[in-house]
Symmetry: none
Subunit: 221 residues, 2 copies
DNA sequence: TCTTTTCTGTTGTAAAAACAACCGACTTAT
DNA sequence: ATAAGTCGGTTGTTTTTACAACAGAAAAGA
């Protein structure tokens, strides 16, 4: 677990906490490391979670498969990001989604109650972690609202425009790469892949954008 | 500002805080009231927000403009609801949307840092407000994920089933009322009203459910 | 009460998406 | 190197949705 301290140091949860303090807090917060192979489930819909988790290696998708096999990717978790913050409150119900490793991954679990209950002794930085958690949940809400903005658009084209515009703004450039392949992007936007691919090509032919694999460039009319 | 205390009392932010304490906390939290005429911007895309806001009168729309200038309404804020909780973190960055008053409105701004930094003296209920905010954000997060679950369904029928099933579970009964009229439900699920109405009636004719106005009853197959 | 407005259901048509099937390019594994 | 698998684009068909227009019912207002 110690080899991941350098990664934890860069996470939102431990922002501002000194290196040597993180090591001390690992036991204080009852941290546990688990590793997953690509394709393996980290958590399943319906389970109860009372841990905050941080991804320290690999990549995860928060997703949901319905009865008919349609998959929707709710969110993507990159190294250093956390999940499970929405289930902190004791009265939070079961998990609403699956969490799956899309690459070989490593996850550290922290006991929620140990985090929100400020410990008496060692952890000088504990209150900072609590505040960091506060900020992280806030941040997550923001990304969810953004995503709702995308998929609440009526047509595939509008969803693409919404998503790509957002990404361009976020990366502060009209050319950028996205963290999805076509199928994943379709799942993220909750549309059919081939229809989406078709729409992308139409927009390209209309001169609205260019792309090559996951590289995109938006063009003025 | 005092005339809005009765409204603040009913908000999630001040749940469990005594009336007389709210008055005291207004200054503690550096509360500021601002009023807006219909059509006036409350906040603009690109601004930085370091306040939690509560709408105490009127109605707001959260709007977004995409890269090509197309405008869409992302969300609606009703009296008593909060806005800005997604921008608590200092690194949240600029607002991604405009917030505009669609009626004459009144908004109370609370300094974020004053809320999350527990004050030393007077505010006996301060820690309760902090916890309220914590749970409010967490709950909003889950609500957003649930809504994503509904509208990421491919067909109008599936969206309806997803939403109505959820509502039945939440109200713990197969018969229940929903807080929307048809147009609002269609907007909530991001579908066309008439198409949705049509689909509802088909399901009724198939014997899957009954409804009358905003009262619904789900039936076994 | 009577009028006006809003709400809901209904229908037909045009547009869009889902679906399925296929192909070539590219990557990965043996 | 070759086989197997993945990925992205394309096309045609079927299903679904959006849109527009209208009418009766219900609600709100005068």
């Amino acid at each position: 677990m110690k080899k991941y301290i350098s990664i934890l140091k860069k996470t939102k949860l431990f922002a501002g906490v000194a290196d040597e303090e993180i090591g001390a807090m690992l036991s204080c917060l009852d941290a546990r490391l688990r590793e997953y192979k690509k394709g393996e489930y980290v958590l399943r819909q319906g389970e109860h979670l009372n841990h905050i988790t941080v991804l320290v290696s690999g990549e995860l998708h928060i997703q949901r498969d319905d009865y008919w096999g349609n998959r929707s990717i709710v969110n993507r978790i990159a190294v250093g990001e956390m999940f499970g913050e929405a289930y902190i409150a004791p009265e939070s119900g079961a998990l609403l989604n699956d969490v799956i490793a899309v690459e070989d991954s490593a996850v550290i679990f922290f006991d929620v109650r140990r985090i929100i209950t400020v410990c008496s002794s060692a952890c000088r930085f504990h209150s900072m972690v609590v505040q960091n958690l506060f900020f992280a949940i806030s941040e997550k809400n923001r990304t969810l609202v953004q995503k709702l903005g995308h998929i609440s658009k009526r047509t595939t084209r509008e969803k693409l425009i919404s998503y790509l515009s957002e990404e361009a703004k976020r990366q502060n450039s009209t050319s950028f790469t996205i963290p999805f392949n076509r199928q994943q992007l379709a799942d993220f936007l909750s549309v059919d892949r081939s229809a989406m691919s078709n729409e992308l090509c139409k927009m390209r032919d209309e001169g609205r954008l260019e792309f090559k694999k996951n590289y995109f460039r938006l063009l003025k009319d």
